[in-house]
């Protein structure tokens, strides 16, 4: 569903992505692991054009989104994004955070949007917090609301940029549980994370990135059990 061909990204003189080519199929859960500075987040952010590729092409369901003529907003509406720092809108309640997308972008009525929002809140287990403001929620709760918000647009795929890295340990599980449920439901997910446990358990494929390229990719059993590449081995030995 997502096809990436020879993706390069330069920030001025810094060459961050040095030719990424890969594919993500519908329903697949792909985890991207690797050391800091490897370009994992940059790659993810290119997928919904938060970063503009310097070179290369990205196709989503056959549409070349790197083409200038494409409506970026429509592209992004189909790709949900969950951020490391949640980025909830602080001047809105949890419910409003979830309804604003559908109302403004999909032009839904407030009532319809709220109906959907309540359902999503149920899904992430936070219905009772519907009218709370983000600063009254814990980190884990905020991230779950953020996931619900991303889901409010009924995206074709969900992108997760280190979703648990900013959470206290006791809250990581509640977020990972929501993500596991999503995966079970068949959502196409691309997850950048340090949570190896999640990667091993839930993902269909793992991408190991280092220094701007995909060093090794394959099923978790291979990457974690039998890494082929020296760099992969070296990285895993440090984190596991």
């Amino acid at each position: 569903m997502i096809k990436v061909v020879n993706l390069h990204k330069r920030f001025n003189s810094l060459h961050v992505l040095k030719g990424i080519t890969t594919q993500i199929n519908p329903g697949e859960v792909v985890c991207i692991i690797g050391p800091s500075g490897s370009g994992k987040s940059t790659f993810l952010r290119c997928l919904n054009l938060l970063e503009e590729p310097t070179e290369g092409e990205i196709f989503i369901e056959g549409v070349k989104i790197t083409d200038e003529k494409v409506n970026i907003n429509e592209v992004r509406a189909e790709m949900g994004m969950v951020f490391q720092r949640f980025n909830l809108f602080p001047h809105m309640t949890a419910l409003q955070n979830i309804t604003i997308g559908p109302v403004q972008v999909r032009k839904l009525s407030q009532e319809e949007a709220e109906e959907r929002a309540y359902a999503l809140l149920d899904k992430v287990g936070l219905r009772e917090k519907a009218h709370e403001y983000p600063d009254n929620l814990s980190g884990g709760q905020q991230q779950r609301v953020a996931i619900a918000r991303a889901l409010s647009m009924h995206p074709k795929a969900m992108l997760f940029d280190e979703p648990t890295s900013a959470l206290d340990p006791e809250m990581i599980k509640e977020v990972l549980d929501v993500m596991k449920d999503l995966a079970k439901e068949g959502m196409t997910m691309v997850v950048v994370s340090h949570e190896m446990g999640f990667a091993r358990e839930v993902s269909d494929r793992v991408l190991f990135m280092d220094d701007g390229i995909i060093v090794e990719e394959g099923p978790p059993s291979q990457i974690f059990g039998n890494p082929q590449n020296e760099r992969t081995k070296s990285f895993l030995s440090k984190v596991l």
Binding site: R76, M81, F83, N87, F89
Partner: protein, 367 residues
Amino acid sequence: MTTSLSVCTYDARAAGEDDTGYRFAGREKTKGVSMKQMKHSRTFIVTLIMAGIFLLAACSGQAQETAGDTAGTDTVLIITSNPEGAEVFINGEPYDGVTPLTIRGLSPGRYLVEVAKARYRKESRYVEVKPGENMVRFSLAETSLYYLWKIAPLLLLGAVMTLFLTIISVFNGIVIGTFAGMARVVPFRLLNVIAGAYVNFFRGTPLLVQIFMIHFGLPPVLGSLFGDGTPIPLNPFLSALSALSINSGAYVAEIIRAGIQSIDRGQMEAARSLGMSYWQAMRHIILPQAVKRVIPPLGNEFIAMLKDSSLVSVIGMEELVRKAQVIVTRTYRPTETWLGVGLVFLMMTLPFTKIVTELERRLKTSD
């Protein structure tokens, strides 16, 4: 009283009565004291006492009477003062009555004349009283407090104009500044450049210079652009408002730009990730959050403008400072006048400073 007594003394001696002391002399010729009666001690004493009383009465009465029977000392001392109604002291002793005052029958000589009125400063002068008419005029100055009280209404009128100018200019400034501030932030290069030029120019030149440029420099330009070449004059009020508004706009633009840019990038990213357009994100996510951030600096801009508006005095605009200048050129009392002006400015700025501090506090907690 001293004066009266010395008059009595003088008269008595001149009258040429027997030199038994002044108590027997003067007016009581009618008493007819003879040597025989003096031998009777009781009547003697009674007469003495009665004479004394009569003499005293006569002497105190003398001060108010017009001189008719005094010999060769026709002096008239006319004391006037501006304002009238001041009390008079001659050689330290209070005189009955207030200015304008005419004192007759003073013996020629040097007197210390002092004049005092409530709420005015005491004035004193040495006066040489010569035979004939003597005139002395005092100009009384108000005490500092009374002076301040007197000019207060004028200053307050000026303060009203200052407030008025400030409110309108800052309001205009906010309108202009919102457009300019956003123009600096939005991803349109041309707008960025134009707004940047405007903001840099009006923040980089002194307000005083801007006021002169608009009031004196603009009319010929306007004349050649819109008229037949003759300059189109601007009245001071228009120039003042324009200069202050445009200047305020530049500062507000920066406040708004800073406010918008202080919102975390992640907010814009999250909004765009949902599929919102740039403007939708601005309108629903960024600007509502920015508003809270810009209110305290805007409050400070208002307070700053309250003070900076005083510069329009240079084109004759009748606000607080100009009013004070006109007063000073008339009364020559810069110390009290400018102190009063300072106090009036404080009265205007302190309440607003308190409000801004309170606003900052409230907005911080709700963030």
